[in-house]
Amino acid sequence: MFDFERKNDEPRKLFLDEATGAIVKVVASHDDDDQGDDNQH
């Protein structure tokens, strides 16, 4: 669930619309890429 090796210089944020749940604003972390983390069993 967690990745505590992150630097998290810019904490990831995801602001949503309360009524619809739609994305309002994304603040990506410097650690994030666009691929998603690998699924792990």
Partner: protein
């Protein structure tokens, strides 16, 4: 998988927890923790199975007029209706299984004859059908629906017909409604959080049954053993409410009784005086946090009885109407006593709902800078959570329960009103300075009875002849799943003897971790249950202290 467990949410044992909390400085940012997490916010919602909310994740139908959802093409596989995986075989895809069109609960399935007119394959509920009838979720019928692992008798044992919602499909007007699921056009927020943070597809209730066992398991892991009761036994010692309490052994001893249903907390001014009320024996995680001087709080909708709602309701009768369109079965009062986890323990209760001495006192045992106990004793209204957050006084550990209309429980709440609450909390946290050190866990108290296709691993057997039906009359003892053999003897209750009534794990539910430290767009298969939250708190703040661990269901996970 074993190594992964240690690296993920619930077992930070690879990290060295050094000094404990500083008794003279309760600022959570200054307290030594085993991980970078200084604030944990547990959002404990109501009555959802995994497949009810994530049965087709990440594929949404995206019909015109609905809130669209589009997933990353890199979204990992998860164990659901459209792509079932095998937890007993390293989550490999299950070949030849079509749960959507040839479900065991459907007209061609193994349960068809017994399900009768309610036999139905899973079907999509639209956003316009957010309002539904409540399904059955008492312990015994839930076990019966699982039918010795065939998972094929949900309509018969826990199905409740609508309307609401109105058809199509026709199944909604039968007990087949229990097979309904939502997709990302309704539970859009939760699917978006899953895309950007982490989602578990192998998380279960600690035991079968409704809200109260879930709430108690979340904070103590022990639903057996009462310190005091009211209206639980008749004059001859028999149980008055067989769906709420169950004897823990064949001798029907009053000292070995398990809470399997929704008895009210003893002494709460809002508890129903005519129904059963119980006070649990033993301790809970609040006691342990107090021992170390760690700040914590329970924040519940409707807890402040002095508030007057816009509709004029107040006290224990405070009530807020849901906003989703339609006519609900009933509109619940905001505060539901049988959800009030810490009220079941004398040491952590606030039976009169006394208000905290100040916003600065929220999370504290004593009034700041004094040795006088704060009147609230760590129990607050949900409004106090936002006030504390705004004041920069977010406790280290916060347990949140929405007002009833936003808790997601079918019958009086719904996924759209639930979404309002969850998003409001997480948006507020992300705007705060605490966010960089915060983790939010969203999980549920029970499944409501909604269909889920995954048989749980039974880690704690039970042989109560009145309640248990999982593998036959009086038997909850399923054998081997996910590499574990069910123990021969039930785990001990609060007074040290094996205790029936905790058949589990129970139903599978979503669990999301929303945090800057969460993996991104991650599906986690680590086996967890409601008490796994306890373990994380113990690992992060309490130097892995395990209290009465021999009594906990989670013992099985630790034995690996």
């Amino acid at each position: 998988m074993k190594n992964e467990l240690k690296l993920t949410l619930f077992a930070a044992t690879f990290l060295v927890a050094t000094a404990g909390a500083l008794a003279d400085d309760q600022d959570p940012s200054h307290v030594r923790t085993a991980t970078p997490i200084k604030h944990l916010v547990v959002i404990f919602q109501e009555n959802v199975s995994y497949d009810h909310y994530f049965g087709t994740y990440p594929n949404a139908l995206n019909l015109p007029g609905e809130t669209p959802f589009h997933a990353s093409p890199k979204t990992p596989k998860n164990n659901n209706l459209i792509a079932p995986l095998d937890p007993n075989n390293n989550f490999a895809p299950l070949a030849g299984v079509d749960l959507i069109n040839n479900n065991p609960n459907g007209p061609t399935g193994s349960g068809a004859a017994q399900n009768g007119a309610g036999a139905a394959n899973p079907f999509r509920l639209s956003p316009a059908q957010a309002l539904t009838a409540d399904q059955g979720h008492n312990e015994s019928p839930e076990e019966s629906a699982y039918d010795n692992g065939k998972m094929d008798l949900f309509p018969k044992f826990v199905g409740t017909a609508g309307p609401p919602p109105n058809s199509p499909p026709g199944a909604v007007t039968t007990k087949g409604l229990v097979m309904g699921y939502y997709d990302g056009n309704t539970v859009t927020a939760l699917w978006n959080y899953a895309q950007h943070f982490a989602l578990s597809d192998n998380n279960y209730t600690t035991q079968f049954g409704p809200s109260t066992p879930g709430a108690i398991n979340l904070i103590s892991g022990q639903t057996n053993g009462f310190a005091a009761t009211q209206n639980v036994f008749d004059a001859t010692g028999k149980l008055l409410h067989g769906t709420h309490e169950a004897f823990g052994d064949a001798s029907n001893s009053a000292s070995n009784v398990t809470e399997i249903g929704d008895g009210d907390p003893l002494g709460d001014v809002c508890s129903n005086p005519t129904l059963d009320q119980v006070q649990m024996a033993g301790r809970n995680i609040g006691d342990l946090l107090n021992d170390r001087g760690i700040t914590w709080g329970s924040f519940m909708g409707g807890f402040d009885l002095s508030v007057v709602n816009a509709n004029g309701t107040t006290g224990c009768a405070r009530l807020t109407n849901p906003t989703a369109p339609g006519t609900f079965a009933f509109n619940s009062v905001d505060y539901i006593p049988h959800h009030a986890w810490f009220q079941y323990y004398k040491s952590t209760s606030n039976s009169t709902h006394a208000r905290p001495s100040s916003v600065a006192a929220i999370g504290q045992t004593n009034i700041p800078h004094t040795k006088t106990p704060d009147p609230a004793n760590h129990n607050y209204d949900i409004n106090d959570f936002f006030a504390a957050l705004k004041a920069g006084n977010l406790p280290a550990v916060s347990f949140l329960k929405a007002a009833a209309f936003e808790d997601g429980h079918a019958g009086y709440s719904d996924p759209l009103d639930e979404q309002h609450f969850v998003v409001r909390v997480i948006n507020a946290l992300q705007k705060s300075d605490a966010w960089a050190e915060t983790a939010v866990i969203v999980l549920y108290d029970d499944s409501d009875g909604w269909y889920d296709h995954q048989m749980p691993p039974v880690v704690n057997p039970s042989f109560n002849p009145v309640v248990d039906t999982l593998n036959g009359p009086g038997v909850c003892n399923h054998g081997v799943q996910q590499g574990r053999m069910t123990r021969a003897t039930p785990l001990n209750g609060a007074f040290g003897q094996p205790a029936w009534g905790r058949c589990g794990y129970g139903t599978r539910m979503p669990l999301l971790v929303v945090s800057p430290w969460a993996k991104k767009n991650h599906i986690d298969h680590t086996l967890t249950d409601q008490t796994s939250v306890l373990r994380f708190i113990e690992d992060n703040w309490l130097r892995h202290h395990r209290w009465h661990v021999e009594q906990h269901v989670r013992l099985r996970a630790e034995e690996r």
